[in-house]
């Protein structure tokens, strides 16, 4: 049972290309070359904005009354300001909204119908009203507004934070039969180990962009000495010890060798021409694209990916910071979208955002404080884009959507519904859905309709 015998691809075309001007090469030509096999392939890519993104300033109401209320209540945080312009968009029903100008790379994709927003999403046990929340009369997620707990809960889809697995890991568990019997991990984090990707059954893996999976200490002079080390290691890892634990641990190390070769191949022979931002997040999504590019070799048809970017805990000096961070998010997501078009799998890849929580509408000087519900972005060829899903709250302090008096949104769409919609699209059967999202059944709809 040696892993990855699919590796021995040869005759790799060595792309001459610098990345510069890649977009100008013309997507159709690339697609013809790369997308000859576009069988059933679907993947989810989570872009986790760590720290709690202030989505009040990511998606801004533009109807006159709502915008006026927003400007009044947001005080110094209200957009537009000296740093951040507003990019006008409209939902299908004509309701005007604006995107933070940091998302400039994504705004055109709204117009093209590839980008959607889902309003006021957050952790819930069951539908929750302000009265119920204030009376604590129904079960609520534990430790709302606390980073450590909410990051966990958003990754686990578990309102108590008590799970050893992430929802994407459980999705991959449920889809394991569709992925055949290969050994390539279906669940990848691009920023070190993440609970989001951990399943009960599947092997999850983690990568760091730019980290070379080739072992140190395997080079030596002369080349024959290095080759001898490599050969000996291969032999040792392949040795039939007759001991299950020894064999299994050797297999992991062999898999690393295989994965490294595959990624090296992806980086040279079948290099994508799409340009990726040089940011940390840009490099994470580049790695995602490289792994997607291996799909024919791995045989995987369903994958989940986790990327993350920090810095959203904007208690002060929010304006420029958030514009900059959203710029990194938008640029990275747009680049990955372009890469999926280049690979001919844009219909099969959905990117979406998550965050610890939203933030207070009521500012705290130059920043905002921890909140709960938050608007999110969904991007992909299969997204019924150019529209807003869920219920966008009218800006108000102490209003029906406020958990207190500072504009802490009580979510009107649960994470379970948001994630469940994507899991269903990915192929999780209705019967398995309750294992993946234990609380989904508490909500009236399990499919928000933004995919299809």
């Amino acid at each position: 049972m040696t892993a990855h015998r699919i590796l021995s691809r040869r005759g790799l075309l060595r792309a001459t290309g610098s990345l510069a001007g890649a977009a100008a090469l013309g997507r159709l030509g690339i697609m013809n070359a790369v997308a000859q096999t576009a069988p059933d392939y679907r993947a989810l890519v989570c872009i986790f904005m760590t720290g709690g993104n202030d989505s009040h300033n990511m998606l801004i109401p533009q109807e006159t009354a709502a915008f006026n209320a927003y400007r009044t209540l947001r005080k110094g945080l209200a957009l537009p300001d000296n740093n951040t312009k507003l990019l006008q968009i409209a939902a299908k029903d004509g309701t005007p909204y604006a995107l933070n100008e940091g998302l400039r790379a994504l705004a055109p994709l709204w117009t093209q119908g590839k980008l959607a927003t889902v309003a006021n999403v957050g952790m819930l046990v069951q539908p929750t009203t302000r009265a119920e929340y204030l009376a604590r009369s129904i079960p609520l997620p534990t430790n709302l507004f606390a980073h450590a707990d909410q990051v966990l809960q958003m990754q686990q889809a578990n309102p108590n934070g008590t799970s050893g697995t992430g929802w994407a890991g459980r999705v991959a568990d449920a889809l394991q039969p569709m992925n055949g019997t290969g050994n390539f991990p279906p669940s990848f984090s691009m920023n070190g180990a993440a609970l989001f990707c951990t399943g009960n059954v599947i092997q999850s893996a983690s990568l760091y962009p730019g980290f070379n999976l080739g072992l140190n200490g395997m080079t030596a002079w002369p080349d024959s000495a290095a080759t001898a080390r490599q050969t000996a290691l291969q032999e040792i890892l392949a040795l039939d010890s007759g001991l299950a634990m020894v064999q299994a641990s050797n297999r992991v190390r062999s898999d690393a060798r295989s994965l490294n070769q595959m990624l090296a191949g992806a980086g040279s022979g079948r290099q994508l021409t799409t340009a990726f931002p040089g940011t940390q997040l840009g490099q994470q999504v580049r790695q995602v694209a490289q792994i997607m590019n291996l799909r024919a070799a791995t045989g995987l048809t369903r994958q989940v990916f986790f990327c993350s970017i920090g810095g959203f805990d904007t208690h002060s000096s929010q304006s420029w910071q958030q514009w900059d961070l959203l710029g990194q998010v938008g640029d990275a997501m747009a680049a990955l979208y372009n890469a999926t078009v280049e690979m001919g799998i844009d219909q099969g890849v959905v990117q979406f955002t998550e965050s610890d929580f939203g933030r207070t509408l009521d500012p705290n000087g130059s920043g905002s404080d921890h909140g709960w519900g938050s608007h999110h972005l969904v991007l992909g060829g299969a997204v019924k884009g150019g529209d807003l899903y869920g219920k966008f709250p009218f800006p108000a302090l102490g209003g029906p959507d406020d958990a207190n008096s500072r504009g802490v949104l009580i979510p009107t769409t649960s994470l379970d519904q948001y994630a469940g919609t994507m899991a269903k699209w990915l192929g999780v059967q209705p019967t398995a859905m309750t294992q993946v999202f234990p609380n989904l059944a508490n909500f009236p709809t399990s499919d928000l309709g933004f995919l299809g």
Binding site: T181, Q203, L215, R229, E235, D240, G242, M245
Partner: protein, 808 residues
């Protein structure tokens, strides 16, 4: 990865982790790949009342012969042949709530083909290879490198294949594998064959070093099948009943199964009685056989030969036999280790790795005296650094693991910390974590009940699992159920009722019995209301929590068969609740299993768990929960001490254990201030910072595509393995202020290849390095251009080997 069919039942031995809303979801466990003809006990977890379900296979209740059958109690019997669609869906539907269902997929595969060895092991020119293994079929193909050889099927355990080496292959080693093609097909692991330089020609087997791979190059000699019941002269004319038994000989691994088929001719009565070594149905020593001819090999290789016989019911004189050769795990070493092996193995389990001095000492004083010394040694101090020095807490922790003389306490406290979890991802400041470490250390050899008591009211746990400021209902803040749930699920009971041997207890309906339900959680949560930080502060980690009676729910509570009267104080209710939980029969097997997994083996036998649980229940002096006695029982058990490696034995070292052991083997340690927490964070092992209350990895994780437990494998991914390897290389090649290590013995031996290999073998494997690995090392060593290259190569390859990644 075979021979595990018979082990499936004990995989049910520990509490099963269900999704959090354990009160509403059916879950099917143990699905996955299964070979044709094999059966597997699935566990259906039904947290409903009544908890009966209807099980079906591909929509057919009870299943059918095409896609396999499933019994009312969840025993799935795979079909005898691979079905056209070999992904088979098992569905469980609640009989009471038809909307509650669960599905699981079984992938029906051919039996895993195994290749143990080839003969000869060196070829040249045109050659004929004989291959030994198991589950060969007439369709089996031998792959020599990328070339498929002309393959001839001899038996299920023997193939021959002919081919011609290419010029490119001359002087190299070529991987040989056996492929069983077709739907659900399997591929064996590979065996290397050396290609000699061309010209020597022919098929002359080249004598080589004795192969360790499965030992014998001699194929099993089947006993000629006596089909002739021929001592009939003294008896009445024998009816000409005859019987044929196939296969006539087979080589199996321990616990493997083999279907025998007997055909009776000459009588209308085709009944057959199977026996093993004369015992009808066999026994645990020589293996068992069902009335249908399904033979299960014993767990251990018996001293006498094994013969399966089938006797016709129509005539006791018509019988046929088949020889079963039981192939234990191949001898892993040129010897069975050295005189240091016993001491080193003990120290692998009891410490953060054997140092040369500790091995010498243990050999001199014996395990009993060593344990006594460790039990009596004062606990190493765990200082509380300044408020902002969280990093220092982690650095000092790593350093202590490698330097503290009270190594057994360090190891046991480390294990307890994997059961009772607090993480610095939430408790970020030193005062929020250090007192917890002190509690684990102080109670490592104490009583588990005392430990639970101190943990439950510690302000550190109060923060981590939200018991602090948990109040009676109706008051601001309300009752928090987190601690009540986790103290049962993770710290004491687990989710399902256990037998004392750790196996899952089944109710009258054949289903696992949940240990508690949501009502239990709520009742215990009420009993545990009223605890606040010192002086009812917002937060205060300088002292344990204290009771605040106005916050406490004073109503009567009932849970787990216990009744707490009304109007008890906060402290009285806490004491009573913990006493009640601690008295639950699950605690012994649950905690014992966790401890054994972390110290000795991921896959203990039920007997081992049972022996340890019995000590947990009563240390011999009537005391329950005596950890000193439990640790002694675990470490001195025959299953821990046997030096004969078993196929399923041992455990993967986690990154911290692995690196600590490597440094200690090199007489080194981690420095009191160091940069290693960052490096461990890249290996999913940030010190004291597991991602969730479930710890770094699930104690119930199985090795992927296997039914064997291997918790540490959940975070041992390709990336983590590379970071781990790179850290080894750094330790070997780049001395740093982060750690100390002494490589003098390797430097001194560097110019003597055999002595160098011996040094690595002695230091890391205690004389168990397989001959083939020694050969690989030798080839790599002699190819190096200088002394440093030689010793570094040898030590690095040793550290990267699976033989060193595991305790076995």
């Amino acid at each position: 990865m075979r021979a595990i069919g018979a082990l499936v039942w004990f995989l049910l031995a520990v509490g099963l982790t269900a999704p959090s809303r354990a009160d509403s979801n059916i879950v099917i466990y143990s699905a996955g790949k299964i070979s044709v003809g094999e059966s597997r006990q699935l566990t259906v977890y039904v947290p409903l009342s009544p908890n009966t379900v209807t099980l079906s296979v591909n929509g057919v209740p009870g299943g059918d012969s095409t896609y396999g059958t499933i019994s009312a109690t969840g025993l799935y019997q795979a079909p005898a042949a691979i079905p056209a669609q070999n992904n088979v869906v098992i569905t469980a539907v609640s009989t009471a709530y038809p909307a509650k269902t669960a599905t699981a997929t079984m992938i029906v595969s051919q039996p895993q083909v195994q290749l143990w060895s080839t003969s000869p092991t060196t070829v040249s020119g045109t050659f004929t290879l004989r291959l030994n293994g198991s589950n060969f079929t007439p369709q089996s193909q031998v792959k020599f490198g990328d070339t498929v050889l002309t393959t001839q099927y001899k038996s299920a355990t023997s193939l021959t294949a002919t081919g011609t080496v290419s010029t490119a292959q001359a002087g190299t080693k070529v991987k040989v594998a056996v492929v069983n093609p077709g739907l659900g097909g399997t591929t064996s692991s590979t065996v290397s064959v050396t290609v000699g330089s061309s010209g020597s020609g022919g098929t002359t087997p080249t004598p080589t070093n004795p192969s360790d791979g499965g030992g014998s190059a001699t194929p099993t000699t089947p006993t000629p099948t006596p089909t002739n019941p021929s001592d009939g002269s003294t008896t009445p004319p024998a009816p000409s009943v005859s019987i044929r038994l196939t296969p006539t000989g087979v080589t199996l691994r321990p616990n493997a199964t083999q279907q025998f088929t007997a055909s009776v001719s000459g009588s209308s009565n085709t009944g057959v009685v199977y026996s093993v070594n004369g015992a009808v149905g066999g026994n645990a020593t020589v293996g068992t056989i069902t009335t249908g001819g399904l033979y299960t090999a014993p767990a251990n290789v018996p001293t006498n030969r094994i013969t399966v016989s089938a006797t016709a019911a129509a005539s006791s004189s018509a019988s046929a036999t088949a020889a079963v050769t039981l192939q234990g795990p191949p001898n892993p070493g040129v010897g069975l280790g050295t005189g240091n092996l016993a001491a080193a193995r003990f120290l692998e389990q009891a410490t953060f790795g054997p140092t040369p001095a500790d091995v010498t000492k243990l050999k001199a004083m014996g395990a009993e005296a060593w344990l006594a010394e460790q039990f009596n040694m004062p606990a190493t101090d765990i200082p509380l650094p300044g408020a902002m020095q969280s990093g220092l807490v982690q650095q000092q922790y790593l350093s202590r693991l490698t330097t503290a003389p009270d190594q057994l306490r360090q190891r046991v406290a480390y294990v307890l910390g994997s059961i009772i979890v607090i993480s610095m991802n939430k408790n970020i400041y030193p005062a929020e974590i250090v007192p917890y470490l002190q509690i684990l250390s102080r109670n490592a050899f104490g009583n588990y009940r005392t430990l639970l008591g101190e943990i439950s009211v510690s302000s550190q746990m109060g923060k981590y699992l939200d018991l602090a400021r948990s109040m009676k209902p109706g008051s601001q803040g309300g009752t928090n159920e987190n601690y009540a749930r986790e103290v049962m699920q993770l710290f004491s009971l687990g989710l399902v009722a256990l037998n004392q041997d750790g196996s899952v207890k089944l109710g009258a309906d054949g289903k696992p019995i949940p240990t508690y339900d949501q009502t239990t959680v709520q009742q215990i949560a009420l009993a545990m209301t009223g605890w606040v930080y010192k002086n009812n502060a917002w937060e205060d980690f300088s002292a344990p929590m204290e009771p605040r009676e106005t916050n406490h729910d004073t109503r009567a509570k009932a849970f787990l068969g216990c009744n707490l009267p009304a109007n008890q104080t906060t402290t009285q209710d806490m004491t009573a609740a913990l006493d009640c939980i601690f008295a639950h029969p699950n605690v012994g097997p649950f905690i014992s299993t966790r401890l054994i997994r972390q110290l000795v083996t991921s896959n203990p036998t039920p007997e081992y768990i049972g022996r340890v649980a019995a000590v947990f229940n009563d240390n011999g002096a009537g005391v329950r929960g005596d950890l000193k006695a439990v640790v002694t029982a675990i470490l001195t058990d025959a299953e821990a001490r046997t030096e004969t490696p078993s196929f399923t034995g041992g455990r993967l070292r986690d990154p911290i254990q692995h690196v600590a052991a490597f440094l200690r083997a090199l007489n080194g340690s981690i420095a009191p201030t160091n940069g290693l927490p960052w490096q461990f964070s890249q290996m999913a092992s940030t010190p004291l910072t597991p991602p969730s209350v479930f710890g770094y990895y699930s104690p119930l994780y199985r090795i992927p595509k296997s039914s064997l437990m291997g918790p540490e494998f959940q975070t041992y991914t390709p990336t983590e393995s590379v970071f781990r390897g790179n850290l080894f290389w750094q330790i070997i090649s780049s001395p740093s202020s982060d750690f100390t290590r002494d490589v003098t013995p390797f430097v001194n031996a560097a110019n003597d290849t055999v002595a160098l290999i011996d040094a690595v073998d002695q230091t890391l494997m205690y004389g168990r390095m397989p001959a083939e690995m020694r050969q690989s090392l030798a080839t790599a060593i002699v190819a190096q251009s200088d002394t440093a290259g030689r010793w570094q190569t040898a030590l690095y390859l040793g550290a990267l080997s699976g033989f060193y990644a595991t305790q076995y």
